[in-house]
C-alpha cells in the first residue's frame, strides 16, 4: 500500500505538486493520470525517495522509502528518465542491482528470460532502442519480485506487442495481490488498464475514483440527428429544451434530450429521420475537458500539436 499525505514540492516559483493526498490499494492497477507537467513524475520520485518533498509524507507499507533496508525486494520502479550506465551491459546492470539486495545471479537470468532480454543481455545499454531500454528498466523493477510496482509511463517506446504484454502483466500482477501504480498522460491507455484512477492537474488532485465511475461521470452524452428537413427538426428539438449544434456534415448534435424523445417528437410532427444515434464523448475529449483548466502547457490554437507531447507511438491509443 502506498500512502501520500499532503505532499508538496516546488521548483523555484513553480508548484510542481500541491498538497496532494491519496492512497493506493493492493490487488488492483491504479492509474495515475494527468497532462504533461501535471506533477506525476515528481510525485513518483518523492514516493521513491529520489526527490525531497517540501512538505508532507509518502510511505510504502507504512515506511518512507529511504527507511527500507532491501527496497528492491519490496518495491520495483520504472522511471521515465534513463537510469542505466550506457557503458555497462544489461546483464551487468542487473547484476549490480541484484548484489545490493543480496539476490543470487540465478535471479538475474530468470528476469532476463522473463522480460525477453536474452538476446541483448550482453550488449551495452548505450546502444539500446527506446523499447529495449524500457524492457531493461522493467527487468530491474521485477528483479526483487516486489509486492509494489511503480511505473512511470511504461508503454512509452514499446511496440504494440509490448504494450499488450505489459498491460496483461500489470493485470496479472494485480490479481496476485500486488500494488500496481502506473502513470500515463493518455486517458485511453488508462481506460483499458487501470481499475482505479488518480487524476491530477497542476499538482492538485482532480479525481480519485474507480475507472468506470470516472468515465461515466466525465462522459457527456449527446445524440446525433440527421434528416432532410434539419430546420424543422432543430425547431421542435429546441422547443422541447434540447441544445442543438449543427454539425459540418449535415447532421445535428443534440444534448440535454435523449434519443427516444427526439424520435417521438419527429414522429408526432411527421418528420423523416435518416439517423438517430446516441453518442458518448470520447474518453480523450472527456479527459481534456476535465483537465482543461489545469493543463500546464496549453496550446492557444485548438488542435495544434502540444509541444510537450511525449513520443508515444500511435499504437498507444487503441480505441
Amino acid at each position: 500500500m502506498i500512502e501520500v499525505r499532503d505532499l508538496s514540492k516546488s521548483y523555484g516559483d513553480k508548484r510542481a505538486v500541491d498538497h496532494l493526498s491519496f492512497t493506493i490499494e493492493p490487488g488492483k492497477v491504479t492509474g495515475f493520470l494527468g497532462p504533461n507537467g501535471a506533477g506525476k513524475s515528481t510525485t513518483m520520485r518523492m514516493i521513491l525517495g529520489l526527490d525531497r518533498p517540501d512538505g508532507g509524507t509518502a510511505t510504502i507499507a507504512g515506511r518512507p522509502y529511504r527507511d527500507l533496508s532491501e527496497p528492491l525486494r519490496m518495491v520495483g520502479a520504472l522511471l521515465e528518465a534513463r537510469a542505466v550506465h550506457s557503458g555497462r551491459t544489461a546483464y551487468n546492470h542487473l547484476l549490480v542491482l541484484a548484489q545490493t539486495q543480496g539476490l543470487a545471479r540465478k535471479r538475474v537470468d530468470e528476469v532476463i528470460d522473463l522480460i525477453g532480454l536474452r538476446e541483448a543481455a550482453n550488449k551495452r545499454a548505450g546502444g539500446f532502442s527506446l523499447g529495449m531500454g524500457q524492457r531493461l528498466g522493467l527487468a530491474a523493477a521485477m528483479l526483487g519480485d516486489p509486492q509494489v510496482l511503480i511505473l512511470d509511463e511504461p508503454v512509452n517506446g514499446l511496440d504494440p506487442e509490448g504494450i499488450h504484454w505489459i498491460r496483461n502483466l500489470m493485470k496479472e500482477l494485480a490479481t496476485q495481490g500486488r500494488t500496481i501504480f502506473v502513470s500515463s498522460h493518455l486517458m485511453n491507455e488508462m481506460a483499458v488498464t487501470a481499475d482505479h484512477l488518480i487524476v491530477i492537474g497542476r499538482g492538485q488532485l482532480i479525481a480519485d475514483c474507480p475507472t468506470h465511475e470516472f468515465i461515466a461521470r466525465s462522459s457527456e452524452k449527446s445524440v446525433r440527428v440527421a434528416g432532410p428537413d434539419l430546420t424543422r427538426l432543430e425547431q421542435i428539438i429546441s422547443a422541447e429544451g434540447g441544445k442543438v449544434t449543427a454539425g459540418t456534415d449535415g447532421a445535428l448534435t443534440v444534448s440535454d434530450l435523449e434519443a427516444p424523445r427526439i424520435g417521438e417528437l419527429a414522429a408526432r410532427e411527421g418528420l423523416v429521420l435518416h439517423e438517430l444515434t446516441p453518442q458518448l464523448a470520447s474518453l480523450e475529449e472527456a479527459f481534456m475537458e476535465l483537465t482543461r483548466g489545469s493543463v500546464e502547457y496549453g496550446t492557444q490554437a485548438q488542435g495544434a500539436a502540444d509541444p510537450n507531447t511525449k513520443p508515444a507511438p500511435a499504437q498507444a491509443r487503441p480505441r
Binding site: 520520485r45 521513491l48 525517495g49 529520489l50 526527490d51 525531497r52 522509502y65 529511504r66 527507511d67 527500507l68 533496508s69 532491501e70 527496497p71 528492491l72 525486494r73 520502479a77 522511471l79 528518465a81 534513463r82 537510469a83 542505466v84 550506465h85 550506457s86 557503458g87 555497462r88 551491459t89 551487468n92 546492470h93 547484476l95 549490480v96 542491482l97 548484489q99 545490493t100 539486495q101 543480496g102 539476490l103 543470487a104 535471479r107 530468470e110 528470460d113 522473463l114 522480460i115 525477453g116 524492457r135 530491474a140 521485477m142 526483487g144 519480485d145 506487442e161 509490448g162 504484454w165 496483461n168 502483466l169 496479472e172 500482477l173
Partner: protein
C-alpha cells in the same frame, strides 16, 4: 517476449545486519567498476605509459648528465627515488584525476544514480562503499606501478646515483606513491560527486592539480611558501620522496596528513550534498 510471468518465485530469504549489507554494497560497487570498459582500459594504459615514461625520463637524465647543471645533479643525487617516481607521476596523476571524477560523475551523466539510489536509498553508505572500492583499486595499481617504476628506473640511473629499496626512506616513498595516488583518487571522486558534471569536474581538478597548485610556488615570501606547502596535492606528494627538498616545510607524513584533511573535508561536503540534493 513471453506472454505470462507466472514464474516469478519469491526471492530467497535475505540475511540482514549492518556488516553484511555494507559488504554487499562493496561487491556491487566492484561490479560497477569492472563492468565499464573505460575504467579497465584507463588503468592498463596508466600502468604502461607510466612505466614507459619512467624508462624514457631516467634514460634521458643519464645520457644528458654532463650537460645538466650542478644543482640539478645535486637534486638528483639527494633524492633519486623521488625523481624516478616523479617522472611517471605527471601521467598517472592525470589519469587518476579523470578516473576518480568519472566514477561518480558518470552516475549522473548516464542517469545510473537513480538506479543506484533506488537500490540503496541510504545514500551515505553507497558513496562510502564506492570510495572504499575505488581507493583500494587505485592503491593496489599505484603501488604495483611505483615498484615497477623503481625497478625500471633504479638500474638505469645506477651509474650516476645509486639507490636501493633498503636506503632510508626509499621503501616508504615507493609505497607512498601508491598512497598518494589512492588519496588523489578519493579527492577526485569527491570533486566529481560535488560538481556532478564530468567535463566541469575534470577541468576543475586538472586545472588545480597540474596548473594552479604548482604555480603557487611562485607566490613571494614566507606567506607564499606556506600557502604552497599546505595545498592538497603539493603537500600530498611529499610522501613519494625519500628526503625533503631544500624548500619543503613539511615532513612526508605531515604532508600526507594535510592532503588527507583536505580530502576528508571534500568528502564530507560531497556526502552532505548527496543527502540534500534531489537525484
Amino acid at each position: 517476449m513471453t506472454a505470462t510471468m507466472t514464474d516469478t518465485k519469491p526471492a530467497a530469504p535475505s540475511g540482514s545486519g549492518r556488516s553484511t549489507t555494507f559488504s554487499r554494497l562493496l561487491l556491487a560497487e566492484w561490479t560497477k567498476l569492472r563492468s565499464v570498459r573505460s575504467t579497465v582500459w584507463s588503468l592498463l594504459l596508466l600502468v604502461v605509459l607510466t612505466l614507459g615514461f619512467t624508462a624514457l625520463f631516467t634514460w634521458l637524465t643519464v645520457s644528458q648528465w654532463d650537460q645538466s647543471s650542478k644543482s640539478q645533479q645535486q637534486q638528483f643525487i639527494n633524492d633519486p627515488v623521488g625523481l624516478i617516481l616523479g617522472a611517471g607521476f605527471q601521467l598517472s596523476q592525470l589519469a587518476i584525476c579523470v578516473l576518480g571524477v568519472m566514477v561518480m560523475a558518470s552516475e549522473y551523466s548516464t542517469g545510473m544514480i537513480r538506479s543506484s539510489l533506488l537500490a540503496v536509498p541510504k545514500r551515505t553508505p553507497m558513496l562510502l562503499a564506492k570510495s572504499v572500492v575505488f581507493v583500494a583499486l587505485v592503491f593496489v595499481v599505484g603501488v604495483l606501478t611505483a615498484f615497477g617504476s623503481f625497478f625500471i628506473g633504479a638500474p638505469i640511473v645506477h651509474s650516476k646515483a645509486a639507490v636501493a629499496l633498503g636506503d632510508p626512506g626509499v621503501l616508504r616513498a615507493v609505497i607512498g606513491a601508491g598512497l598518494y595516488l589512492a588519496m588523489l583518487g578519493l579527492f577526485a571522486l569527491a570533486v566529481g560527486a560535488i560538481i556532478r558534471h564530468v567535463a566541469g569536474a575534470i577541468t576543475g581538478i586538472i586545472g588545480f592539480v597540474l596548473v594552479l597548485a604548482p604555480l603557487a610556488q611562485l607566490l613571494p615570501g614566507n606567506v607564499g611558501d606556506h600557502i604552497h606547502a599546505y595545498l592538497p596535492t603539493e603537500a600530498g606528494h611529499l610522501i613519494a620522496q625519500s628526503r625533503p627538498g631544500p624548500h619543503d616545510l613539511l615532513t612526508p607524513w605531515q604532508g600526507f596528513g594535510v592532503f588527507s584533511v583536505w580530502t576528508a573535508i571534500l568528502l564530507a561536503l560531497a556526502i552532505w550534498l548527496l543527502n540534500r540534493r534531489d537525484a
